[in-house]
Subunit: 255 residues, 2 copies
DNA sequence: CCTTGTCGAAATGTTCGACATATGCCAGCG
DNA sequence: CGCTGGCATATGTCGAACATTTCGACAAGG
């Protein structure tokens, strides 16, 4: 029955457990995490394993190891948010601080319309299939927004939709950057669910974006993407003044 | 003559040596690198050290470890180019294949005008100082383009100039993305030196960009950045059709 | 009283050897 | 012919010993 995957790792993964505690705020920047031998005892593992996992956190820029002293949690801006592992943890344990989330969202507001524009130019049939499948998944559980037990939640489809657009640019940088979306989208969905926003409207905006890309209309895709982002972002009170690119929408629509 | 870097690390660093051989094409995607024990013998180190370094390559997405079989070099698109270590190696040992370089350059052409625009809005006095210092460094060795022995080459100042603009956005994503510029800028400089391009003209374009940011003129900064990129990119025969954003320059200038 | 040198505890850094597990090949058996 | 078991090989995991770095205590000397 384990033919699928041995489930990644058999042991609890110290990195995972420590990351959870750090992301949840149990240890804050400047704090020192327990020393190696204590972690060994707590997880019933040897030092090699512990050090191996601690190195993951070092590579992620989350902790800093000081010889003969201990492992200190670094400041949030030092965290390497371009590391896919970090965004993975952010999706699972929420953001370490709201400022980082806000800046990621500002980044999205900057670039996503442009990414949609590029996708509309370069998307292949294969890309369109991926986008459409994700879109269909988003629409299928409109009445059950919480979750369906197919193993994939609504948020999974939402993320897949946006990631598929990034990949449709056929640019390696954009493709690899797409993981930045995950925590941001999850935040938007959770908060949007609280504040009353019309899911049908949101879905319609996504549909317009998809159609623009399918029709190979870069300019429409640009505008449609801005509409998608503006809809969800404004739903949680985030203004768009932070995106200097925003006003170029009018410029584009003028022509 | 190996007094280059007496600090940093004492041992040759297997990861460094292997990366060089992989980046130079000695091992290509699909090939298997020597097994652990052979590397131990070759570098006179124990397996722990070798495995520790091999893990760096795994994290960078460069190699894939197959239990009981060996370590295989992965395909270029799999390489994690958002990892700062990877771009560091690219600057030192050139790009693994030209396609990746071209895509990174396309990415730059896409986003740098926007980054300049955002920088013009958010730059602080401190940021302006960093930009100006880098600019002065670029101009100081105009007649000696190869290198001055202050320890900093012309390319260092060029990179510092563009990176400073990225950091001036005060957005964590843009700031951490700035390392993507390094290999791309080095490639441009090297190739530009071969093809005859006027360094004075390039410097003037950079000056205009800096002045636009200093004057807090986002629109001018957008256009100036496009001019900088177009100047160097066209110098080496790279057309800008890959950047669908290019034409929005005219849109901006219309208003 | 302040400075300075030395020692030692505590933590991380490094190395080594042994054993566990996964994979591919191939001979042996049904 | 096909399956199965074992063997060789390579990576994965582990535990202990030793080296190095850091900080604080403490005492000698100015």
């Amino acid at each position: 029955m384990k033919s699928k995957q041995p489930q990644s790792r058999k042991r609890p993964s110290i990195a995972e457990a420590l990351a959870q505690e750090i992301f949840s705020g149990e240890y804050q920047p400047g704090d020192f995490v327990p020393r190696e031998v204590d972690l060994c005892e707590r997880f019933a593992l040897n030092r090699s394993a512990v050090r191996s996992d601690l190195r993951q956190l070092v590579d992620a820029g989350i902790i800093e190891r000081i010889s003969g002293h201990g492992s200190k949690v670094r400041e949030y801006p030092e965290w390497n948010i371009l590391d896919a592992q970090v965004t993975e943890w952010m999706t699972r344990y929420a953001a370490p601080n709201p400022g980082v989330q806000r800046e990621i969202l500002a980044f999205r507001l900057d670039v996503e319309p442009y990414v949609a524009m590029t996708a509309a130019k370069h998307a292949t049939a294969h890309d369109l299939v991926a986008i459409e499948e994700a879109f269909n998944g988003m629409g299928s559980d409109l009445d059950d927004p919480a979750s369906n037990r197919d193993g994939r939640l609504h948020s999974d489809y939402d993320i897949a939709f946006h990631v598929a657009i990034f990949k449709a640019t056929h640019n390696i940088v954009w493709s690899q950057l797409s993981h930045i979306l995950r925590p941001s989208i999850l935040l938007l969905i959770e908060t949007s669910n609280v504040s009353a926003s019309d899911p049908a409207e949101s879905l319609e905006r996504h549909r317009l974006l998809m159609e623009s890309i399918r029709a190979r209309r870069p300019r429409d895709a640009f505008l449609a993407s801005q509409a998608v982002l503006a809809g969800t972002a404004s739903a949680l009170g985030l203004e768009i003044p932070e995106t200097p690119l925003g006003h170029s929408a009018e410029l584009l629509s003028e022509t």
